[in-house]
Structure formats: structure tokens, C-alpha cells
């Protein structure tokens, strides 16, 4: 088939002669730019603004918490052509990876503690810093702490990085703790490795972003299931300090598979959305759900998540199947200027992203940057979302597809794989299979294709290649890949 041949040639041409350490680009930036513009938010000369967290204020300002420990209140960021004014609200804090505002108080998560910060004399600068909780041990710089925004009950959820990234030397390293408004601190779950983002998914359930490493074959979004175990057993030693958590779980076996160990270790929570390494980021970070009611384009109620290493923004969707969270991730926008740590939707429905490139390898060249993604108003032709079905998947597109192509099973290519669940660092993709699309039923409006699949594999990432799909107007998809983590096949 001539089509096949052309595809093959393109693929061969794209094989790099010498692989870049940070992996190949998606090479979609040029297309993406038609739909999502990157707007620079200028930072005053001489100011090192290493954003680690964002929050919206009722007065239409953006609050920025930084790695250097400042909180800036910034006006003008949401203007079409931003010329922001920065005011320093607080300084001298320690790596701000969590920022929330309510009723005149900021609730920040810094490395040492969760703090309530107030400007009692209303001069525009904070003057009262109250420690809500610092129950966790802190003895190594790599013991980062990532805090959620206030949840519906005004709690802050804090994901605590391991010690030196491999150990759990001090209490609760590798745990998630919930800090209540009066400072009570409740252990939620163990087994965290290196979180870099925490917040609710599109259904309001608290999730966090985990990085590839020991016991994590690839980066993933995981649900912070109370009483659960997130997969890295080095933090088991603190169960004695957490009566509410019950006894210590069974140790998982190394060089196993997560699906296998789920049967042995009942507390083990499987990764809900795996982000295959390099293809979909290398250090996924801060995320936020699009609640802009369509102002950011066709992806309302989806998770937008940045990546520190590759300076990209991706999307994710989750669903609960047979009582277990799972879902898919999709490429969205590459070519941001620095390593992304945090993101924030604006009242206008744009997405602020920011971070720094210091410390670890980052593709984005700038030491720090704040940028804004604005939807141009043109709807991209994309895979909107993928949902599991008992017999396959339901694929939803942002625009009607060419029905002839989309209803042919051969128009879809699919492979599956999983990762080794092991103590060693990361994992290659293993146990590959190639399921077959048996039938594709396209909805009347051309926006959905129900794919009936022969060869679904529970526990595997299902990687889709939609490169043959065309829109009704004959256009290619902006991104042709999507990745669904099939922890559970829905019961009929």
C-alpha cells in the first residue's frame, strides 16, 4: 500500500543520527502554535523569578510562590499583552511548592512546613507567619514538599519527597499528609517517591504527579488513596507513627509487575495514568484541571500537566473503572522556555506556566520564565479523550472525523506494554503486545469512534497511533499518539 510506504520513509528519516540526551521533540510546535499561542509574561530585569506555585487572587492578581522563597503579587498578567507589575508580599521562605489563598490568608507549603501567612496591618506585605504543621522530618535538601491548594474542607495535602531521593531517613518521608485548618496532621498514604505536583483530578479526587525511578517504571499520575501504598516501600518504617493507617503492608517483590503485586499487596494503588518516559515527559510536574467552561478550547474538565525536563505541557483524563482510577495522557504543547514546575488557569481561561531550569537537565533554555498559553479560538483536530469500554475503547475527537477512514479498523494502530515493577531505577517498556482493532463504529456526529479490540491487556499501557485518521475536512491530527493505562477492563 503506497500509504504505508510513505509512512515508513517518514519514520526512517526521523531516526536521529545521534540521540539527544533529553529525547526527541514531538515536532508539533509549529502546528500547535496555530491553536495555542505562547505569550511571554515579562519579568523585570534583575529579578530571578523561579516560580514553584501559583494562585489566583480575588482582586485579579496572580500570586507566585518561588523556589527562592518569595511570594509576589502580580497585576497585569492576564492582560492580552502583559506588562505586569510585581509586588513582593513575602520573602525568605523555603522553596514554595504550594500556594493557596482564602479569606485574607495565604496557605503555603514550603520545605519545612505548611504556613498560614497574613498581612495583618494591610500594608501589602505579610507580617504574620504561622506554622500549621511541620511534623515531618527534614534533613536533606532533596526532601521537597509539594502542597495542594485548599480542598473543599480547607485541608492541604502535602506529598513528601524521599530523603536523598532514595531513602526515608526521617519521619514521613515518602508519605502524603493531610493538614487540617487547625493544624492537625493526618497521614494519608505511604510509598511516594519523588512528587512534583499535587491537586485534584477532574472529579475532585486528590492526585499527585510521581517521577520515574525506583519502583516507578515511568512517570505517572496516582490517586492519593487514604490508607493506600503508592508503590515505593522504603517509607514503610513510619507506620508506627500512623495509627490510622493500620499495619504495615506486605513488602512488594522487586522485578515483578504492578498487576501481579496488586494481588499480593492489598494497599498498593496502581498508577492511574502512566506517562511513557521521554515520549510523554521525563519529570511530570504541577497540574490543574481546566474549569474555564470552554475558554481554553475543547478540553474542558481535563487535567493539564507540565513537564520539568522537556518543557512541555500535556493533557490527561481519568475515570474510575471497577473501583480503580485509570486514564489516558495526550501531548498538548511543546517549546516552553524553561523547566515547568507549576501551572494555573486564569480567569480569562488561559493557562499560566512557569518554573526554572536549574539543578536538573531541562530542554527549555531559560533559567526561569513565566509564560501564558492562550487559545487562539481555532479548534485543533485532536484526540479529545479515550475511555475504556468492556470490548475496547471509546475515542472522542475534537472535530468530526472523515468517516470512511475512521470506520476502517486498519486506520488504527495499537500496541501495549508495561514496566517492570522493581527497586532499580525506572524500567524499559516490556511485555509488548499488538492488539487488533476488529471494528470501529463511528458516531453519527463523527466525533466518536467506538473501537472494538481483540487483545486488550489488563495492567498495560495501550499506546495508540492515530496517524491515519483525518478530519472531515481532510486534516491530520495535531498529535497522533495517546496512551491509556488499562488497570481494569470495565465489567459488562
Amino acid at each position: 500500500m503506497p500509504n504505508h510506504l510513505a509512512l515508513l520513509i517518514v519514520l526512517m528519516a526521523s531516526v536521529p543520527l545521534q540521540a539527544q540526551k533529553l529525547g526527541e521533540y514531538w515536532d508539533t510546535a509549529e502546528q500547535e502554535a496555530k491553536y495555542y499561542r505562547i505569550v511571554e509574561v515579562p519579568i523585570p530585569k534583575g529579578m530571578a523569578l523561579e516560580a514553584g506555585s501559583f494562585e489566583l487572587l480575588p482582586d485579579n492578581r496572580l500570586a507566585i510562590g518561588t523556589r527562592r522563597g518569595d511570594i509576589y503579587l502580580v497585576s497585569g498578567v492576564f492582560d492580552e499583552n502583559p506588562q505586569p507589575q510585581f509586588e513582593r508580599y513575602a520573602s525568605g521562605l523555603d522553596e514554595l511548592f504550594g500556594l493557596s489563598y482564602k479569606d485574607g490568608h495565604f496557605y503555603v507549603t514550603q520545605q519545612t512546613e505548611v504556613t498560614r501567612i497574613t498581612d495583618t496591618d494591610r500594608d501589602g506585605r505579610a507580617d504574620r507567619f504561622e506554622t500549621l504543621s511541620d511534623v515531618w522530618g527534614f534533613g536533606n535538601y532533596h526532601e521537597f514538599a509539594f502542597g495542594s491548594k485548599l480542598d473543599s474542607e480547607d485541608n492541604i495535602w502535602v506529598a513528601l519527597c524521599l530523603s536523598k531521593s532514595y531513602h526515608s531517613d526521617l519521619p514521613f518521608r515518602g508519605w502524603c499528609m493531610k493538614v487540617t485548618p487547625d493544624g492537625k496532621t493526618i497521614p494519608i498514604c505511604s510509598g511516594i517517591r519523588s512528587p512534583c505536583g499535587i491537586g485534584p483530578n477532574e472529579h475532585g479526587v486528590m492526585f499527585y504527579a510521581e517521577s520515574q525511578g525506583p519502583w516507578n517504571g515511568s512517570c505517572s499520575l496516582k490517586v492519593l488513596e487514604p490508607g493506600g501504598f503508592m508503590g515505593h516501600p522504603v517509607s514503610f518504617k513510619w507506620y508506627d507513627l500512623a495509627e490510622n493507617m493500620g499495619p504495615k503492608p506486605v513488602e512488594p517483590n522487586t522485578r515483578s509487575r504492578l498487576l501481579t503485586e496488586r494481588n499480593r499487596v492489598k494497599e498498593l494503588v496502581p498508577y492511574a495514568v502512566v506517562f511513557p518516559y521521554i515520549k510523554m515527559g521525563r519529570s511530570i510536574s504541577g497540574f490543574m484541571v481546566d474549569r474555564t467552561e470552554g475558554k481554553f478550547g475543547p478540553f474542558e474538565n481535563q487535567i493539564f500537566i507540565g513537564d520539568f525536563s522537556l518543557s512541555v505541557v500535556m493533557r490527561a483524563t481519568t475515570e474510575k473503572v471497577n473501583g480503580i482510577w485509570q486514564g489516558a495522557c495526550y501531548p498538548f504543547r511543546e517549546g516552553l522556555a524553561t523547566g515547568l514546575l507549576a501551572c494555573q488557569f486564569t480567569p480569562q481561561g488561559n493557562l499560566i506556566v512557569g518554573g526554572t531550569n536549574r539543578g536538573w537537565p531541562v530542554r527549555g533554555p531559560r533559567e526561569f520564565a513565566i509564560q501564558r498559553l492562550d487559545w487562539t479560538g481555532i479548534t485543533p483536530f485532536e484526540i479529545k479523550q479515550i475511555n475504556a469500554r468492556p470490548d475496547g475503547f471509546l475515542v472522542t475527537f475534537t472535530k468530526p472525523v472523515n468517516r470512511d477512514i475512521a470506520s476502517q479498523p486498519e486506520s488504527y494502530a495499537l500496541k501495549t506494554y508495561t514496566h517492570i515493577y522493581q527497586q532499580g531505577y525506572g524500567s524499559p517498556e516490556v511485555d509488548h503486545t499488538t492488539p487488533r482493532v476488529v471494528r470501529s463504529v463511528v458516531s453519527d456526529d463523527g466525533l466518536r469512534a467506538h473501537l472494538q479490540i481483540d487483545g486488550l491487556v489488563q495492567g498495560h499501557v495501550h499506546e495508540f497511533d492515530f496517524s491515519r485518521i483525518r478530519s472531515a475536512e481532510g486534516n491530520e491530527l495535531v498529535h497522533v499518539n495517546a496512551y491509556y493505562t488499562l488497570n481494569e477492563i470495565p465489567a459488562d
Binding site: 545521534q18 539527544q20 540526551k21 533529553l22 515536532d27 510546535a29 509549529e30 502554535a33 511571554e40 534583575g46 530571578a48 523556589r67 527562592r68 522563597g69 492580552e80 499583552n81 506588562q83 520573602s91 525568605g92 521562605l93 523555603d94 522553596e95 514550603q110 520545605q111 519545612t112 512546613e113 504556613t115 495583618t120 505579610a126 507580617d127 504574620r128 507567619f129 504561622e130 506554622t131 511541620d134 522530618g137 527534614f138 534533613g139 536533606n140 535538601y141 532533596h142 526532601e143 517549546g335 536549574r358 539543578g359 536538573w360 537537565p361 531541562v362 530542554r363 533554555p365 531559560r366 533559567e367
Partner: protein, 928 residues
């Protein structure tokens, strides 16, 4: 108000050059030392690497006149001096340039009959012309006809001035330069084998191709069946008139339509009403204007202008690249180079502010074929330039009668629009027009567009030369164009040639040269002139090239002229063409035995102990002290490896303007101690090191900025890791130059010091693994373990975090000084320190107030104030600890000096109850 100060101190790195303001000049010192001694010293102590880097720098500027391998310079090519030039000769020539002047390099002064005077070296002299390399700063080649010359006089002195070495910083730099010239003096023979004479540019594509460009420019194809070869640049399109409505002044529109060639000389829009009367023209123009206005959504409105913005716009207009095509203007707005420029016409009468801003921000919406490129202006820059271009519009506005739209006229205009054939170029989707394919052949003898007569055909603003050129293209007939011809066509159509030179084609015209600016003159001409495109396809990887052409990626922050964007459809084909056409011979370099080791050597070479690439090149956005040459960490993404190997051998071969030295002149390594001086393997090591791209290890000697965090008129705080405290440290710097660090895990004052507050570099750099480093002096640490504790069984800090102590935060006073809050068991503590300074003695101190409260009355606690080897009781309130720290206990408390495992301890037993009680401690530094 900025209350605290963050001071960033750029490292005083290597000083590559500087001025010597000593009593005795460097040249005098060196002359006194003598040439022979200096030659010997240069051999022994000079560094050819440093010399190589110094050689092309603006000071001393050796390469201005001695660029290795270049032709017709002021001074001799130092790579061809040969063995007969001794080391001592070299030293002498540097110290006393005029003592011995090499044959053929004498200086002459030529006076012309019009009285102009040129000084320099006569490069060649024939019966027809005299060519002189001018010694003025831009070192032009002056060509004079014998009849212009009045007088030629030989100068006794060399063009190389005496005392040039005084531009060097010191003797070491002199030795380095001498050492480098020693290295290269015999390298010329082999270097020449590679040297390819470079054209000085300024050329054009063939007349035939120029004709094709003109035919596209005037859009001949819309009426004619054009049977010429096809350019890969998509045909030029007329402006989108629907966009213009509401943005272009209807009065201007009307004037322009009535008489385009006079209202905007140089326009490519023809006059299509050649034989009609003035009245008829006026009527048609009016109707069409009303029609065009009806296409817009909102009426045209003038806006107020801002003089300040116009001033900024003046600067931008003349630097970012607008005047590469359009004419620069003087202060009165008079065009200075109108003849050779793309006509701007009377922009001020044409646009309103919003319209022009929108156009400048994204010209391709109005003119999709990209001939007016997107100059990558920010919104604010577009506003400034628009203000500049419109600044004279106020006066013309006053006399203008307001435009009143009429439906009737608009309907007539619509008809006119079609009748006059405007729809052949404009609004094609709104009108259907019949095929009007007049064959375009030279045999057609009827007068038409190309004739100078006025008739029933479109009349273009064509010069005689342009007519000839178009005729030449017509007679040429269609032929298949070569890739190089396609490149030439594209570069000419899109006017790349006004900035870029590719072989003989194009380059910055002399009269426009002064509008190309740099942010850093140390880079020389390459710092301001856009890069050469000769061999560019062999140089740049296609992906990078596409990013530069299509997504605006840039690598040269020092060029003030911007690389414009033409739109992917118009320009992206260049990527494949360049890659296809430009080939360099493959470089065979042996296999790598040990990749890791090779990279390590490359890493070494990039740093100060190797070839010191970072002396000039940016590394991972960290600029070198002297200049921001292209970032080393982006080389691997940009460059083809073969090009790298060719270029490194002889940079000037590829770019005569570059100040990049070769560290392998004549194919011999300057650094013979690295990899046994193996040229190939040295370059290979560098290349493999650069392949790590953004992840390449930081080269040795890269200056990391030092940051100082200092108190201003308010206190400054930093919660981070401090040595001796751990991660829960809180440092405070006070305005009176005293500082303390509190331990929020052990609840104690951990240390105090005087002077500057702290260097946060290690916690704010990299991953943040280090400690905050106290600056200043007189640092006094205190023992670990809680200060307030059980009187009899205090917590042993070896066992970690004290279980009954809980940090609760802090609040700030009006000078941002914190009061720490913590709890011990059921005792609430507040801990507030203020800084003090004795105005007469200048002594500084800390006054610390601790207050305690407990629901329950208890007398079982004590406060440990200090520990030391020896604590001397001066009076019952004042204690001297280890001869360094004096502590005074104010108030009613009684202190005790008790024995401790390390010596003595000063402690205060407490009686705490529901009523708040305070302990006041005054700390001062004891000086003998």
C-alpha cells in the same frame, strides 16, 4: 521601595584586556626589558591559547590588519612570515612597528583632485586604477582612477601605531600574543591550501532571474499566461482589502486609488485608469473607496499619539531591521535612501494607530505572501514604531474632511471594482472574473504594460531598467531552474539579500551598513552583520534551519537586527534547497575508543585550563565576561559535524569577519599537551562534548554569579539550611550590620555574626543542596539543643528532634524584624531580637527579649544562654564567654555559670506562670 538588597556580583574573571594606567607605560617597560629577553620569556611563559583569543579582540585588534589567511589587508599575513622571521623580530615588530616595515606594507597618503585624503597601504596599482586599503577604522578598500589622484606621498611611519601594545593589560598578555604569533608564523603554507577566497558580495542574481522576481512583484500572471520558469516562492498576493477597511484612512484610499503612481511612487499597484479624465478617476476612486469601507466592521478613527513612544519607535525603526528594506529617515522624516528602498509612501496619512500596530505585529494577515515580513516585534515595540511612523499625521488630519459613508456610492464602487479589473488581484473570492490570458511573449508588438505610453492597459511604475529586465526574462523562455537559482530567486524575492550574503550574492549594502548595530562591539563586524549564508546548508541541520526560518528561533542575542519571519509557506522550501546544494567534503575522523573519556577531554578543553571557549562563548545562557558569542550548549542542535570540523580548522575561511581564533593554525595544535596534539582527536573531543547539548557539564572556570543577600533599611530573612543548624534554619540580617540564625527545629539561637548578612548561592543555585553562607565576620556559634528546657534533664540533641518543642512561626515588626514563636511543653515562648549600634563607638549588638507564659506555674525549667570553655563573670549581670562574646542579662533574672561537658555554661533558671515574664539578653562582641 526596595528594603532588602540582593547584590549580584559578576565574577572578575579572567581579564582579557584592560588599560594600564601605571606611571610607566607597558611599551616603555617592555622596551627596557629588551627584545631578546622578551622573546625568551614568551617561549617559556607565553600561552598561545590566551594569545589566540586575545589576537582578534577589539583591543588590541590585531586581526583587523592581520587576519590569518585573508587577502589585501593593511598588515602582512602573520601565517606567512616564514622561518626567516625570528622570534626577536616578532617582538621588535610589536614594540616598534616602524623600525622595520615589510616590503609592500609601507603606508602612503593619497590626495585626490577633489581634496579627499586617504591613508593606508596601496594594495595594487595599475594603469587603470589604484587600490588602497584605508587605515581608517572601517578599513575599506578604496579604488581610485589615476585621473582622480592629485598626489601620492609615502609615509615614513608604519600604519601600525607605536604604543599599540599599551592597549594590553600587562606583560603577560604581551607574551601571550608573541607566543601565538610564533605559533602561526609558519602555518600559512598549509592553511592556504584550505583557504578559499571569499567574495565580498554585493552581487545580484542573473538578469533573467531578476526579471522573474519583477514579474512576480508586479503580478503579471494575473492577466497573462506566463510561460516562464516557476519559482518555489509562492506568488505574491495583493493586500487583503477586507483587512484594510477600518484601518486605512478612506481619504487616503481615495487619493491613492485615483492616482496610485503619484500618491505612492514605487508602488507595485498599477494605474488602471490610464486614459480616463481626472474627474472620472476621482469619481471611480470615491465609489471604490466607499465600497471598500463597506467591507470593514468598524469605521476608521484617528487616535492620539504619544511623543515618547515615537522617540522609542525612531530608535527601533533604525535598528531592528526596518531600514534594511525601507529608507532610513532624518529627524524631519525625510527619507535618506529613497532611491534604493522599498517605498513606504505616506504611512502617516494612510493608517490609524491600531491599524498600523496590528499590521506591524502580524503583517501576514493583511499581506499573506510575506514580502513584508514579521519583524518579531512585541506588541509594545509595534506600538512604538507605529507612533514613529504616524507622528506627522496630526497636521494633515486637521484639514481633512470627515468621511461619510454612502450605501449608494458603495454599490457603484462594487461595480467599478469589477469593471476596472481590481478583482484580478484583490477580493478574488468575492468576484468571478473571466480568464484573461493574454500570452506574454516578446513577439507581441502591441503596446501594453511594458510600454511607456498611456493606454488602455494597466500602467506600472517601472523604470527603463526594470522594463528591460522583464523583457529579458520574457525572451529567455521557460527553463528548469537549478536549486541554486531557486535559492537566489527566493533570497531576492523575500529580500534576504539585503542582510545576508551568500557567496557573491547580496550582503549589506555600504550605504546601509551604519544601520546594523550590535549590543557588544567586542564581537567585531560579526556582532552586527547578519550571518553569511555561504555553505549554510552544510552548516546547519535542517531542523534547526526550519526553526530559524519558520518559528523564529534565534541564537545571536548580540545582533540588533532581527531575523524576520516570512511564513512557513513562503520560505520553508529553502531548508531542503540549502541542504541539497551546500556540501562540504566529509571529514574522516577516526573512531572513538572511549566515548566517556573523549567527552571528558572535550569538557577540559572547553574550560579555562584548555582552549577556554568560555572566554567568549555563552554557556547555558551564562555569558562570558567579554562577549556573548553563540551558546556552546546549542551547537549540537545546530551544526552538522563535518562543518564543525572544517570550521574549527580555519574559521576565517567560512567567515572572514569572525574573531574566532583557530587553535589549530596550519593544521597544528596549539595545545600539544592535550591528546598528544592530535588535531583530529582534539576537535573530536570537543565535538563529542558539545553533543551533550544543554546537559554538557559546566566547563571549568565558568563564572558563577555570586549573590549577596543584604539588609537594607529593614531586616532580611532567609529560611534555609545553615551550617551547624540543618535544614530548619532561619537567618536574619539586621540593618545595623548584625545577623543571627535561629534553629526552628531545636528552638535556639544558633549563631550570630556582624557585617554583611549572607550568600545564598548554594541554596539558590543548582538543586539547592548547600548551605547559606554567612558573610561578614565575628561569627559566634552556640551549642545545639534547645535553649529552654527541663532544668535537670535537658534533651540530648544527638537524639534528633526534641519531642516537646514545637515551632509556631513568627511575626514581623515595622522594620521586618521577626519575633519567633514556639512552644515547649505547655510554655509559650516569644523570642524577639533587635539590633543596636553605639553611635560613638560604632559597636553593634543584639538585644533579645524572650517572653514566657504557661497556664501552669512551674519552676522546673532553665534557659541556656551560652556555653564556652571559660565564662568570666564581670559583674553579676555581665558575662564574658571565651573572650569573644559579652552577654548582659537585664531585668530581674539571676544567671548561673555551671560546669558542662565542654567547659562552662551560662544559664538562667526560670519561673514561668500564667503571667507573661520576660528575659532580656544583650549580646555584644568583645574587643580587647
Amino acid at each position: 521601595m526596595n528594603h532588602t538588597r540582593i547584590v549580584i556580583i559578576a565574577g572578575t574573571a579572567m581579564i582579557l584586556f584592560g588599560s594600564s594606567a601605571e606611571a610607566q607605560t607597558l611599551s616603555a617597560e617592555l622596551k627596557a626589558e629588551g627584545a631578546a629577553a622578551l622573546a625568551k620569556a614568551a617561549v617559556e611563559q607565553g600561552s598561545a591559547v590566551r594569545g589566540a583569543i586575545l589576537f582578534p579582540q577589539q583591543k588590541p585588534g590585531c586581526a583587523n590588519c592581520h587576519s590569518p589567511g585573508a587577502e589585501n589587508l593593511l598588515g602582512p599575513d602573520l601565517t606567512k612570515l616564514g622561518e626567516e622571521t625570528t622570534n626577536v623580530d616578532l617582538v621588535e615588530a610589536l614594540l616598534e612597528p616602524s623600525k622595520k616595515i615589510r616590503n609592500g606594507y609601507e603606508s602612503s597618503t593619497v590626495t585626490t583632485v577633489t581634496g579627499k585624503v586617504y591613508s593606508g597601504r596601496i594594495v595594487s596599482r595599475t594603469a587603470d586604477q589604484l587600490v588602497l586599503r584605508d587605515s581608517s577604522p572601517d578599513r575599506r578598500l578604496i579604488v581610485l582612477h589615476p585621473s582622480d589622484i592629485d598626489q601620492i606621498a609615502a609615509n615614513p611611519k608604519s600604519t601600525m601605531p607605536d604604543g599599540l601594545v599599551d592597549q594590553l593589560a600587562d606583560r603577560q598578555q604581551f607574551l601571550d600574543i608573541v607566543k601565538y604569533t610564533m605559533e602561526i608564523k609558519t602555518s600559512g603554507s598549509s592553511a592556504r591550501a584550505q583557504a578559499v577566497p571569499r567574495s565580498s558580495g554585493g552581487g545580484k542574481i542573473s538578469k533573467y532571474l531578476q526579471g522573474l522576481v519583477l514579474m512576480d512583484d508586479f503580478q503579471c500572471r494575473v492577466c497573462h499566461r506566463v510561460e516562464t520558469a516557476a519559482s518555489l516562492v509562492p506568488p505574491k498576493q495583493a493586500p487583503e482589502l477586507a483587512w484594510s477597511a477600518g484601518r486605512i484612512n478612506p481619504n487616503y484610499m481615495e487619493r491613492f486609488i485615483a492616482d496610485p503612481l503619484h500618491v505612492k511612487p514605487g508602488t507595485t499597484m498599477p494605474d488602471v485608469m490610464g486614459t480616463r479624465s481626472a474627474d472620472e478617476r476621482q469619481a471611480a476612486a470615491k465609489e471604490i473607496t466607499h465600497f471598500l469601507v463597506s467591507l470593514g466592521e468598524s469605521p476608521f478613527q484617528q487616535q492620539r499619539l504619544d511623543q515618547k513612544a515615537a522617540e522609542r519607535g525612531t530608535e527601533l525603526f533604525h535598528t531592528v531591521g526596518c531600514v534594511a528594506c525601507h529608507s532610513p529617515r532624518n529627524e524631519d522624516g525625510v527619507e535618506l535612501l529613497s532611491e534604493d528602498s522599498v517605498a513606504l509612501g505616506k504611512v502617516d496619512q494612510k493608517y490609524n494607530l491600531d491599524g498600523l500596530v496590528a499590521f506591524l505585529e502580524d503583517p501576514h494577515v493583511a499581506r499573506p505572501s510575506g514580502r513584508m515580513p514579521n519583524m518579531q516585534l512585541t506588541h509594545w515595540e509595534a506600538i512604538d514604531i507605529a507612533h514613529y511612523l504616524l507622528q506627522r499625521s496630526d497636521s494633515s488630519r486637521a484639514t481633512e474632511k470627515p468621511f461619510k459613508w454612502s450605501r449608494e456610492l458603495a454599490e457603484k464602487g462594487r461595480l467599478r471594482f469589477g469593471q476596472l479589473g481590481c478583482n484580478r488581484c484583490h477580493l478574488k473570492d468575492q468576484f468571478r472574473s473571466e480568464e484573461l490570458a493574454v500570452p506574454l511573449t516578446s513577439s507581441n508588438t502591441q503596446p501594453g504594460c511594458l510600454s511607456e505610453e498611456i493606454g488602455n492597459w494597466p500602467r506600472f511604475d517601472l523604470s527603463g531598467e526594470q522594463r528591460d529586465t522583464i523583457r529579458a526574462a520574457m525572451t529567455h523562455g521557460p527553463t528548469e531552474l537549478t536549486n541554486e537559482q531557486q535559492i537566489g530567486l527566493t533570497m531576492t524575492s523575500l529580500r534576504c539579500v539585503v542582510c545576508h550574503q551568500r557567496d557573491a550574492l547580496g550582503g549589506v549594502a555600504p550605504e546601509r551598513d551604519e544601520y546594523f548595530h550590535t549590543t557588544n562591539p567586542n564581537l567585531g563586524p560579526q556582532g552586527r552583520i547578519p550571518p553569511l549564508l555561504s555553505d549554510v546548508g552544510a552548516k546547519l541541520k535542517p531542523k534547526w534551519m526550519r526553526q530559524v526560518l519558520v518559528t523564529g528561533r534565534t541564537i545571536r542575542p548580540y545582533l540588533k537586527t532581527r531575523m524576520p519571519q516570512y511564513g512557513a509557506d513562503n520560505v520553508a522550501h529553502l531548508v531542503d534547497l540549502f541542504q541539497e546544494v551546500d556540501k562540504l567534503p566529509a571529514v574522516e575522523i577516526g573512531d572513538i575508543i572511549d566515548v566517556k573519556e573523549t567527552r571528558n577531554i572535550g569538557h577540559e578543553m572547553a574550560g579555562t585550563s584548555g582552549l577556554n571557549c568560555i572566554a567568549c562563548h555563552t554557556f547555558q545562557q551564562k555569558r562570558a565576561a567579554t562577549m556573548p558569542a553563540v551558546d556552546l550548549t546549542e551547537m549540537s542542535e545546530r551544526l552538522h559535524s563535518d562543518w564543525f570540523y572544517h570550521y574549527m580548522r580555519n574559521p576565517q575561511r567560512f567567515n572572514p569577519n569572525t574573531i574566532m581564533p583557530s587553535f589549530w593554525p596550519g593544521g597544528r595544535a596549539i595545545r600539544k599537551d592535550i591528546l598528544d596534539g592530535d588535531v583530529d582527536r582534539q576537535m573530536q573531543a570537543l565535538w563529542w562534548y558539545l553533543q551533550d547539548g544543554r546537559q554538557a557539564r559546566t566547563p571549568r572556570g565558568l563564572i558563577r554569579e555570586r549573590i549577596e543577600l543584604l539588609a537594607g533599611d529593614e531586616a532580611v530573612m532567609l529560611r534555609r539550611s545553615y551550617s551547624g543548624i540543618g535544614k530548619r534554619g532561619i537567618g536574619v540580617g539586621y540593618p545595623n550590620q548584625v545577623n543571627l540564625a535561629f534553629d526552628a527545629e531545636q528552638m535556639r539561637l544558633a549563631m550570630i555574626w556582624t557585617g554583611k548578612f549572607a550568600d545564598p548561592g548554594s541554596v539558590w543555585g543548582g538543586q539547592g543542596s548547600g548551605n547559606v553562607r554567612p558573610l561578614g565576620s565575628n561569627l559566634i556559634p552556640f551549642d545545639s539543643g534547645p535553649e529552654l528546657d527541663d532544668a535537670t534533664a535537658p534533651w540530648n540533641p544527638e537524639e534528633g528532634r526534641p519531642p516537646k518543642h514545637q515551632f509556631r512561626g513568627y511575626f514581623l515588626d515595622e522594620a521586618q524584624r521577626p519575633t519567633f514563636m514556639y512552644r515547649f511543653d505547655n510554655i509559650e515562648v516569644e523570642d524577639y531580637s533587635i539590633d543596636s549600634k553605639d553611635e560613638t563607638s560604632g559597636d553593634v549588638g543584639i538585644r533579645r527579649t524572650l517572653s514566657f507564659r504557661s497556664q501552669q506555674q512551674r519552676n522546673d525549667t532553665a534557659f541556656r544562654v551560652a556555653s564556652g570553655e571559660a565564662i568570666v563573670t564581670e559583674d553579676n549581670r555581665t558575662f564574658l564567654v571565651d573572650d569573644t562574646l559579652r552577654i548582659r542579662i537585664a531585668g530581674d533574672h539571676k544567671a548561673q555559670v555551671v560546669g558542662s561537658p565542654t567547659g562552662q555554661q551560662l544559664r538562667v533558671p526560670l519561673n514561668v506562670g500564667p503571667k507573661k515574664s520576660s528575659l532580656v539578653l544583650e549580646y555584644s562582641w568583645y574587643t580587647h
